[in-house]
């Protein structure tokens, strides 16, 4: 456990904040890897690294949804948090044309991935979805990248308040039908991932998806985050197409809660 000072807190939208801190080991994070963030006296939660910068700072991007995330998003520069990690296996950068699909704060690990793909001169199309315009994460950052021609970006909102009206999956299908896509990278609500997986299967596209489960140790020993025979913390959190196939019966359907009971996703 390394305890670090929060350097900066940036509001991405009314619900989501990006928290910046300096930690040397986090700089080695691969896109898709996560850290355990300790909010002293409250909880410790897994969060994807959303950026790493050359000045030595890194960030996590988090929505205020539960007790721990509410406490974390209300922290100020100078406050202390603990970090462990980075843990797990991240995205594998494949060549070819990439379609990156994120829903809500699922964009966090994808933002780091997009920046890596740009560095590798990949052809990148991004679909970023949310319920409403004010819930879109990284809107400005992605539009800036798109303006300078680094990526193509599409936004979807369920209420049509910004970009395409509808779901990311519907737009992703349209893109897949009309242009060549070699790799599909995804992170977001698991039911979205499940539908994207079905799409990837139908169109024989190689998919990599980052999954989420209740976690404790993050080191592959406690078994809390099991999905089928895999551990999300160690074997994932990013799963490759062939592994997604093996956990099809769980994906978007079943998970274990903190008591180890099977419950619907």
């Amino acid at each position: 456990m390394r305890v670090v000072k929060i350097l900066d807190v940036k509001s991405e939208n009314p619900y989501v904040k990006t928290i910046f801190f300096k930690d040397e080991i986090c700089l080695t994070a691969e896109p898709g890897q996560f850290i355990m963030v300790w909010i002293p006296g409250v909880d410790e939660i897994p969060l994807s690294i959303s950026s790493v910068y050359e000045d030595g700072s890194s960030s996590v991007t988090v929505a205020a949804v539960g007790e721990a995330t509410k406490a974390l998003t209300s922290m100020k520069p100078g406050d202390l948090i603990g970090v462990r990690g980075p843990f797990g296996r991240g995205f594998r950068i494949n060549g070819g044309r990439s379609l990156v699909v994120g829903g809500g704060t699922g964009m966090a690990p994808l933002m780091l991935l997009i920046n890596r793909l740009i560095k590798e001169n990949s052809d990148v199309t991004v679909v970023n979805g949310a319920d409403t315009k004010d819930k879109i994460v990284f809107l400005d950052r992605l539009e800036d990248l798109s303006k300078v021609g680094k990526i193509r970006v599409y936004f979807t909102t369920e209420d049509g308040s910004y970009g395409f009206r509808g779901l990311t999956v519907d737009l992703a299908e349209r893109i897949i039908r009309s242009e060549e896509v070699n790799v599909l990278y995804a992170c977001g609500p698991e039911r979205m991932i499940k539908r994207l997986y079905c799409l990837a299967k139908t169109f024989s596209i190689y998919m990599q998806a980052s999954l989420e489960r209740y976690m404790r140790c993050a080191m592959g020993i406690c078994g809390s985050c099991a999905i089928g025979k895999y551990r999300v913390c160690k074997d994932g959190p990013v799963f490759m197409m062939e592994e997604l196939r093996e956990i099809e019966d769980y994906l978007g359907l079943v998970k274990y809660n903190e008591r180890g009971e099977k419950i619907p996703v």
Partner: protein, 324 residues
Amino acid sequence: MYLLLYVPYGGVMKEIVNLFGAIDLSVRLAGLFMPNPTMLASGILGMSAETLRRVAEAGAGAVVTKSVGLRASSGYPNPTVIQVECGFLNAVGLPNPGIHKFVEEIKALKDLGIPVIVSVFGFSPKEYAEVAGLAADAGASAIELNLSCPHVKGTGAEIGQNPRMVKMTVEAVKGSVSKPVFAKLTPNTSDIVGLAEAAASAGADAVTAINTIRAMAIDVETFRPILANRVGGLSGPAIKPIALRCVYEIYEAVSVPIIGCGGIMGWRDAVEFILAGASAVQIGSAVAFGGLSIFKSINMGLAEYLARKGFRSVSEIVGLAHKK
């Protein structure tokens, strides 16, 4: 001793046989047949049938489930597991879905090919017996009594530190199940031998030594204990010499088989425990450091060691360090 009769996850065993000739790694422990002496320790990956199946495929000789009680429990909030110098500190708090749900996982392991040992806890001898009975009925090969969890009130070490309670608990469980019963002992006592004697006298078929050692970590920046429960149990390389001493002393005092546990990171550690008197060994923290291949690598190293020292089976070296 003669060569293996039974090769459930054949890959490992066949390689060993080809490399080292007639080395027999199999173990008979309290009537259970294990293809090799390595077991998955309780609390590690033991919550679901599918992860336990993966451990079996990785070459373990037996698996022990996560401890299960009568009622579902969430355990403690995080942080529950952290890495410290030379090991891990954990206070997970015995989360489990309750035995009535967990029987489904036990049943799903019917065809595993290696023993499935269900770890149970309770808040009274009667409750231990009730949980053990349900686990045995669901198909557990054996029961391991968690008389040693160091961080939950009213169970584990709070029962297991008292020889009289150990005796009562083992007796109650032996009275309700016909499967072998192991007592997992706590090192958080001045006299672990007395606990082993109490378990053996009550009819335990084996004792497991040791569980984690009560310990803690404090963050100097925030002035706070790091574990949410403040105090937890230490595992890993830091506790190996202590665990080894416990096994050595217990071996001199009781005649039931001993399962060694505590900081076993490789074949050499496993051999040390066997020489001290363990008939089998449990692996926990090493899964985090070395991954699931640890079972295979310990078995390979053990077979090579036995061949090099001119032995043909594991049983020949059990307790050898006691020879005067």
